[in-house]
């Protein structure tokens, strides 16, 4: 590619270059690398600790919720006397079915809206 570079200006740029060989800059960069590494370790440790504390506090709530779900999800919503009709409606006539239908409805509504 043709370049309209002026040789005299190019020589000004070349002559203006300085030689940097001071160790202070290298030391400064590497000590910043080290302090960033330390900061990152501290940040991850704090995050891990916070997560552990939150998990500690939530463990009872999570346990209770799981227990409640195991009670609710398989429960029949409407009692059907006929054995065959009960079996036929089983997939929708339960907490799980209701939850599934609700999720499907939400998903369809989301797709229609967005």
């Amino acid at each position: 590619m043709t370049m309209d570079r002026d040789p005299q200006l190019a020589s000004v740029f070349k002559n203006a270059e300085q030689k940097y060989s001071d160790e202070a800059f290298t030391t400064r960069v590497m000590s910043e690398v080290e302090s960033r590494r330390r900061r990152s370790i501290i940040a991850w440790s704090v995050a891990g600790l916070l997560l552990a504390i939150i998990a500690w506090f939530l463990v009872l709530v999570v346990q209770d919720t799981v227990f409640l779900l195991t009670q609710i999800l398989p429960a029949t919503i409407i009692d059907v006397d006929n054995r065959w009709v009960a079996r036929l409606l089983a997939p929708v006539n339960s907490g799980t079915g209701l939850f599934g239908l609700g999720a499907l409805g939400l998903w369809l509504a989301f797709r229609k809206l967005f």
Binding site: M1, M3, A10, Q18, S21, F25, V29, V33
Partner: protein, 189 residues
């Protein structure tokens, strides 16, 4: 097993890059040592300010360390680092208006004794150029990049780069006419 300091200073750059990619900080220290002149000079031409240039050079090397494991070809470390340096400057440029701060930078340069006259004059002249023009001029004259390479690195259209280089060259020729060689001397060189 880590190498001795002496071995690092004798090692080829591609080997140092490979070592640094695996987390060897001493290898990266040697890379900073070797590349500092180039990056600091580049930032100096971009910013026109010694202190700011060193800060930006430091950011460049820090970003280099954070991303060095992504270097595909250790032999092309210089080109990879140059891309980081240019991005660091462009980001700085987007956040700040260098023309507004140009006078301030030049004043702070005057306080540094290590600044040579020609470097100072060049920085003064560069400070009068708009940000994009200055980037194109520095990449063209300092880095020896062609128009297409500049366009790729700066995301500017090729035509814009050409006009920036042409316009910047004319402006610098006028401002730095004192450094123009007498007719005929250039050919003798």
């Amino acid at each position: 097993m880590p190498l001795a300091q002496e071995q690092y200073s004798r090692s080829a750059e591609s080997l140092l890059v490979s070592l640094a990619r695996n987390g060897d900080r001493s290898a990266y220290t040697e890379l900073v040592r070797r590349r500092q002149t180039w990056v600091r000079n580049l930032m100096r031409r971009f910013s026109g300010d010694v202190t700011l240039a060193d800060d930006l050079a430091q950011i460049t090397f820090l970003q280099g360390w954070q991303n060095i494991r992504h270097v595909q070809r250790p032999g092309r470390f210089g080109a990879w680092l140059k891309r980081i340096a240019i991005n660091v400057w462009l980001q700085y440029l987007r956040k700040n208006d260098p023309l507004r701060q140009a006078d301030e930078h030049i004043d702070s340069n005057a306080m540094h004794n290590d600044v040579t006259g020609i470097g100072m004059d060049l920085d003064r002249a560069l400070a009068t150029l708009p940000g994009d023009v200055r980037v194109c001029i520095v990449l063209s004259y300092h880095e020896g990049m062609n128009h297409r390479e500049i366009a790729e690195h700066t995301d500017l259209p090729l035509g814009t780069v050409k006009s920036h280089v042409r316009r910047g060259t004319k402006r610098l020729q006028a401002l730095l006419s004192a450094y123009a060689l007498p007719p005929g001397e250039e050919k003798m060189k």
